[in-house]
């Protein structure tokens, strides 16, 4: 795989929204995704984690051009040819969209309540016409089996299914076009604990069986670890850490990533820690702190020369260890051996 082009090559992608624009008022710019770059190999899954407002969902939507990017490129290598997905139009865009699908957080909101499951699953075939009409019914039945639903569910409406079943339908719909990449935006967050495990297993099996690539967006670091090969941590629009899952969970290098991990409640009362959640709350993305966005909450940037640098100079995403990047001036000094025991 080393010589082959990555499936997805995201270069300096940004997405800004203008808020409060009026006749003579230019409004304010919210940089929801700020100069994000990463690559994704075929069959690989990238976990994008962060708290609300960090830009992880906007990133997912911008990648699929549900939002038009403000700047940057999304180079996709599909069927041996690379093209810039962020600029193509018309039929080429439609063809490319087949290869990129999305599963949303709230399965109730993403399924049309007035369509039967059969109609919902037939729609992708009707739009893209990539399968002869005579085969569609068989394909639909195959999809149902693949996501663990019974065929007799096809004539029912979404309301008669549980949350977990609806999410399976959402996944089946995403699979209908045989995509290469699926963006999963908090796909298990709305589900009960026992159902969450079932859907995570399903996603894992589908990935293995079909060689899919995932971008798995979640705030749940434990669920992300279960699915993802690599992790990107976002804070106020920027990737602050990017590493293999193994390297990340063994030794996170950005203070925010450390804070996220130590804030996570662990289902083991023996491991109740005297932890130090970061101070304060996430600042407004409309007017983020200068320099390193995290410096206002960072336990390492409290005073003196350090604070001066962290508040004055934007840190670059630097390779701290092999294939392990962090956006912190002092990443080399950060260790948290206590996390490894968990």
């Amino acid at each position: 795989m080393t010589n082959a082009q990555p499936l997805l090559d995201v270069q300096h992608l940004s997405k800004s929204f203008v808020i409060g624009k009026k006749l003579l008022d230019e409004g304010q710019t919210l940089r929801a995704v700020d100069d994000v770059s990463f690559t994704l190999e075929r069959g690989e899954s990238l976990g994008v984690v962060g708290e609300s407002g960090c830009g992880k969902s906007t990133l997912g939507r911008t990648l699929l051009r549900l939002y038009e990017p403000t700047s940057g490129r999304v180079v996709l290598a599909i069927d041996g040819a690379a093209s810039d997905f962020s600029t193509i139009k018309g039929e080429a865009l439609k063809q490319m969209r087949r290869k990129l699908q999305m599963v949303f957080q709230d399965p109730s909101a993403s399924l049309n309540p007035r369509m039967t499951i059969r109609d919902i699953l037939r729609e992708p075939f009707a739009i893209h016409r990539h399968v002869p009409a005579a085969e569609i019914e068989a394909r639909i039945r195959g999809l149902m089996a693949e996501v663990g639903l019974r065929e007799d569910a096809l004539d029912r409406f979404p309301h008669s299914f549980s949350g977990g079943q609806k999410q399976r339908i959402g996944i089946a719909r995403a699979l209908a076009l045989e995509p290469d990449l699926i963006v999963l935006d908090e796909p298990v967050s709305a589900l009960d604990v026992s159902i969450r495990g079932q859907v995570l297993n399903l996603l894992k099996d589908l990935q293995r069986g079909r060689g899919l690539s995932y971008i798995f967006i979640s705030h749940d670091l434990a669920a992300v670890q279960y699915i993802a090969d690599r992790i990107a941590v976002m804070y106020l629009g920027r990737i602050v850490e990017l590493a293999s899952a193994q390297s990340f969970y063994a030794a996170p290098r950005h203070p925010y990533a450390l804070a996220l991990l130590s804030a996570l409640p662990v289902p083991n009362p023996k491991l109740r820690r005297g932890r130090q959640p970061p101070r304060g709350t996430i600042p407004s993305p409309i007017n983020p702190p200068s320099g390193c966005h995290f410096h206002t909450r960072c336990p390492f940037a409290t005073a003196g020369a350090r604070l001066h640098r962290c508040s004055g100079e934007v840190p670059q995403l630097r390779e701290i260890a092999s294939k392990h990047w962090a956006r912190c001036h002092f990443a080399e000094e950060i260790q948290q051996s206590s996390l490894a025991v968990r």
């Binding site: 708290e51 026992s194 969450r196 495990g197 279960y226 130590s262 409640p265 289902p267 996430i282």
Partner: protein, 347 residues
């Protein structure tokens, strides 16, 4: 035997320690699509200064149980039975379940001796009044402090829950605050009357993980400081491990396991509890998850026998008979026939 006699007759110190004792609580709702038995014979004990976590998936009846303690359930089409014995400040033991919910006695308890915080503070705070107004209202309703004293107390409460610049924040409206700050305001309001029992219904579920950690730390600190008891309702076993002294696991309106927090995580015994724990991805673990099969059934379905049987990998013929809550020798209670012969007394 009624609750009063139970409490009175019970032996010595352990019982003295019990602030709230729910016995055989049943709550049902008559809906257009049938009768829903939301809570079906729940027994819970809350001890002084301790946290009881009530854990279960959506629809298990955990929130309904808490709401019935405060008489917050809708009056129409609701059928409720059982007893809720609460040891009041005056020393008398009251059966909350039998008190008229709009009566004077109930109002002197609700919000004053027993307070509650909810999942989404935005829907529990009024958007049209300042935070200060709302805290002052709580003080006016539940305490004798008035005027300048009340204002000072409101500032003190905001300080206690870690709100910076409390004096100026009194003038803020809820929408001007972040979710974490609003939850702190909710907690401040709940603490206004120094309640002996705090019911917390998924208080951190809507919050980001770093903010959740702050609120959990705050709640633990406040409990140590004020000595109140907490009923912490959650679906998150991580939060249970962090917060609880005792844990009740609920499935379809019944307690299926009851244990100290250490026992529960060290020796999860009911197949449902074990299934929940096996469903959880954990940092550092790589093995495949073994989630519980199926999903929580419709509570309108009539069920005989064990509620969990149709999802249980250990199902046997006997499961058609409803299992009692069996007391295991080391102090854990479990509602499962697998442990019939290990059991001491049955309740």
């Amino acid at each position: 035997m009624g609750t009063m006699e139970m409490v009175a007759a019970a032996d010595g110190r352990e019982q003295d320690d019990i602030l709230l004792h729910i016995e055989n609580l049943k709550v049902g709702f008559q809906t257009t699509s049938g009768f829903v038995r939301a809570v079906d014979g729940v027994d819970l004990k809350v001890r002084r200064g301790r946290t009881l976590a009530v854990v279960g998936e959506s629809g298990c009846g955990k929130s309904i149980t808490a709401r019935s303690v405060l008489g917050l359930l809708p009056e129409q089409n609701t059928v409720m039975s059982g007893s809720i014995a609460f040891k009041s400040r005056t020393g008398e033991v009251l059966d909350i379940a039998s008190l008229p919910r709009r009566g004077k006695r109930m109002r002197s308890i609700r919000g004053a001796e027993i307070a509650m915080i909810f999942q989404e503070p935005m829907t529990s705070l009024t958007p049209v009044f300042t935070v200060g107004d709302q805290i002052l209202e709580a003080l006016r309703l539940h305490t004798p402090v008035r005027g300048a004293q009340a204002l000072a107390r409101a500032i003190e409460l905001l300080e206690m829950v870690g709100i910076p610049e409390p004096e100026s924040r009194l003038k803020a409206y809820p929408h001007q605050m972040s979710g974490g700050m609003r939850q702190r305001v909710m907690i401040a309001m709940a603490l206004a009357s120094n309640p002996s029992l705090l019911l917390a219904d998924e208080p951190t579920t809507a919050l980001d993980v770093t903010v959740q950690a702050q609120i959990l730390d705050l709640m633990r600190g406040l409990q140590d400081e004020l000595g109140m008891s907490v009923v912490f309702i959650t679906h998150d076993l991580g939060v249970v491990a962090e917060m609880a002294h005792e844990v009740a696991v609920i499935y379809l309106g019944q307690v299926v396991e009851y244990a100290s927090v250490d026992d529960l995580f060290e020796r999860p015994t009911h197949p449902y509890t074990r299934g929940l724990l096996n469903s959880l991805p954990r940092i550092g673990a790589t093995e495949r998850l073994v989630p519980i099969a199926g999903s929580v059934p419709d509570p309108r379905e009539h069920r005989v026998g064990c509620r969990f049987a149709d999802r249980c990998a250990s199902r046997m013929a006997k499961c058609d008979t409803p299992p009692p809550l069996i007391k295991l020798p080391h102090g854990q209670d479990v509602r499962c026939w697998l442990h019939e012969n290990e059991g001491g007394t049955q309740s």
